[in-house]
């Protein structure tokens, strides 16, 4: 008997969340993410953990933030339209520095779009969906083992950096049943800041770049948490100097820890003449294409972003020192390509393969695009 099991992608997310210590889930049904909520509703009661189906997605993320402030590790799962509804609360979680994992199993859009069809539709919504300047972390697994490890990592980063972390997943992989090796507990890190004492109201008082302490209720000293801009005590404050500092505190806790947050995989890039930049399901098409290209003597390589936000800028720029062609492959009308264009030096030729009709790129389509590009 093999150690490998067959699991649906959505179920791998749910199992990984439970393994990472998720003890509160609030959600609202939406295709193609519903299996995550269904699995949680079945398994969490067995572990005496809390599951609730809320009245909408706004309520779901609200409940998660509330539970998080009451000391729980929380998650919600949705798809594009529900993710849109959640955006105000994404901002609330950022502002109040509350950890929560938000899974978005993406589907075609806009509006109700194509519920049963894949699209890498929310790359920019994940970054800029909520209003105002804010830091965000978004991860995007493509292979079955990555779905597990990135979900656990999403929880760890939410806990470490006291920020919402978004896990993007493709409809294709959420719904597919695939072989997967679930690692043994103990073989991966589960980050969880132990109980601590709060002795004063100055809960946001820290130096720029320092990781925030765990901020939650019921630690012996009542505190105030606010969605308004606030000072070190959490009181509403619109004082320009204070706001400046608080903005930097929130930004820098992410941007000074990029080494820990940014994760990517590279394939055949050492001697490559063209980088295929991709992620999620498109990275799987691209990997198959790159392998075939190599068999045919074409020097193509793949840069697969696992952390999509913050954008893996430094890593990609390093590749651009040697490799002067980049092909961005994504299942949308062009979203991450702008990030690539923004950071690629002028002497790097940029090409794209884009489509948002519900059909993932076949490896041959990517291969043809590579061939066309290197010609």
């Amino acid at each position: 008997m093999s150690q490998r099991k067959v699991l649906q992608g959505n179920i791998i997310v749910a199992k990984a969340a439970l393994a990472a210590g998720c003890d509160f889930f609030a959600g609202y049904p939406i295709t193609p993410s519903s299996e995550i909520a269904q699995y949680m509703s079945k398994e969490m009661p067995k572990m005496e953990r809390a599951f609730i189906q809320m009245e909408d997605e706004i309520a779901s993320l609200g409940a998660c933030i509330g539970a998080s402030l009451a000391g729980k590790k929380t998650m919600t799962a949705t798809s594009g339209p529900g993710f849109s509804l959640m955006q105000e609360h994404v901002g609330m979680a950022v502002m109040a520095e509350v950890p929560v994992v938000i899974v978005n199993v993406m589907r075609g859009g806009p509006s109700t779009g194509m519920p049963t069809k894949p699209a890498q539709a929310d790359m920019m919504q994940a970054r800029w969906g909520t209003h105002g300047d804010h830091p965000i972390i978004a991860v995007y697994p493509a292979f079955s083992e990555e779905i597990f490890s990135e979900t656990v990592r999403a929880f760890n980063m939410a806990e470490k950096y006291w920020n919402p972390v978004i896990l993007l997943l493709d409809e294709v992989l959420g719904k597919a049943h695939m072989d997967v090796e679930i690692p043994e507990p103990g073989s991966y890190e589960v980050y969880w800041e132990k109980t601590h004492q709060i002795v004063d109201l100055n809960i946001y008082d820290r130096k720029i770049g320092e990781n925030p302490p765990r901020i939650d209720f019921f630690h012996g000293y009542p505190i105030h948490i606010d969605g308004l801009e606030h000072d070190a005590h959490g009181w509403p404050s619109f004082d320009a100097k204070t706001v400046d500092k608080m903005q930097k505190l929130r930004m820098q806790k992410i941007y000074q820890n990029l080494d820990d947050i940014i994760k990517y995989k590279e394939y055949f890039l050492d001697d490559a003449e063209v980088i295929v930049f991709s992620f999620g399901i498109s990275a799987r098409s691209a990997l198959a294409a790159v392998k075939t290209a190599r068999e045919q003597g074409i020097k193509a390589g793949l840069f697969q972003a696992l952390t999509i936000w913050p954008f893996p800028r430094a890593a990609l720029q390093e590749k651009f020192q040697k490799i002067k062609k980049v092909l961005t492959v994504e299942m949308n009308m062009g979203q991450m390509k702008y990030e690539v264009e923004r950071i690629a030096p002028g002497d790097v030729e940029k090409q794209t393969l884009l489509r948002a009709n519900g059909m993932p790129f076949s490896p041959d389509e990517v291969l043809n695009a590579i061939k066309e590009f290197v010609k």
Partner: protein, 178 residues
């Protein structure tokens, strides 16, 4: 076998998602292979054209949809019309002889029209067993999994009190194509 691609085409409710899931379970959990089943479906649980691609290989599968299909089993005209792309030359094609009438150009394939749905109803006693019948046909025509593993798995998987009817369904599937 290094890499084998199977596609099931049906209308929602005919059990191909189950057939695909069983096939992947057997390939991975009983035979240690790599496999993925990716469904393409519509909002309608029943009645909409549906396909399920099952890829089975000796190494990790990179792209999860079928691109060069070895075996295609289809139980309705609509999915037959829209999902019969990407078939290899010499692909084995099984169609329901009552429900798929317009076959088009089939010169490059080995086509077997058989009354799958009807025989399931008559022979196995319940149309819900189409999934197991389809699985048995797949086993017999492709050997992508072993007969023994299939029988063992179905015995293990079938709810109590339904093992006998599932065994009957396997028999129907094995005997449909001589």
């Amino acid at each position: 076998m290094k890499h084998f691609e199977i596609r099931y085409g049906a209308v929602g409710g005919q059990g191909i998602i189950t057939a695909g899931a069983l096939l992947v379970d057997i390939a991975v959990e009983r035979e240690g292979k790599f496999a993925i089943e990716s469904p393409t479906y519509t909002a309608a649980v029943r009645g909409g054209p549906t396909k399920v691609d099952v890829l089975i290989a000796d190494e990790q599968i990179v792209f999860p949809h079928a691109t060069a299909i070895d075996f295609f089993l289809c139980t309705d005209q609509r999915p037959y019309d829209i999902y019969r792309d990407s078939l290899k030359d010499d692909a084995i094609v099984i169609v329901d002889s009552h429900l798929v009438r317009e076959l088009g150009d089939t010169r490059h394939w080995k086509v077997y029209p058989v009354p799958i749905i009807n025989e399931t109803k008559v022979g196995a006693g319940n149309v819900v067993l189409t999934s197991v019948v389809s699985l048995a046909i797949t086993q017999k025509m492709t050997d992508v999994i072993s007969y023994e593993n299939m029988v063992e798995h179905i015995k293990h998987w079938a709810p109590k009190g339904t093992i006998e009817m599932n065994m009957k369904a396997i028999e129907v599937g094995m005997n449909l194509i001589k």
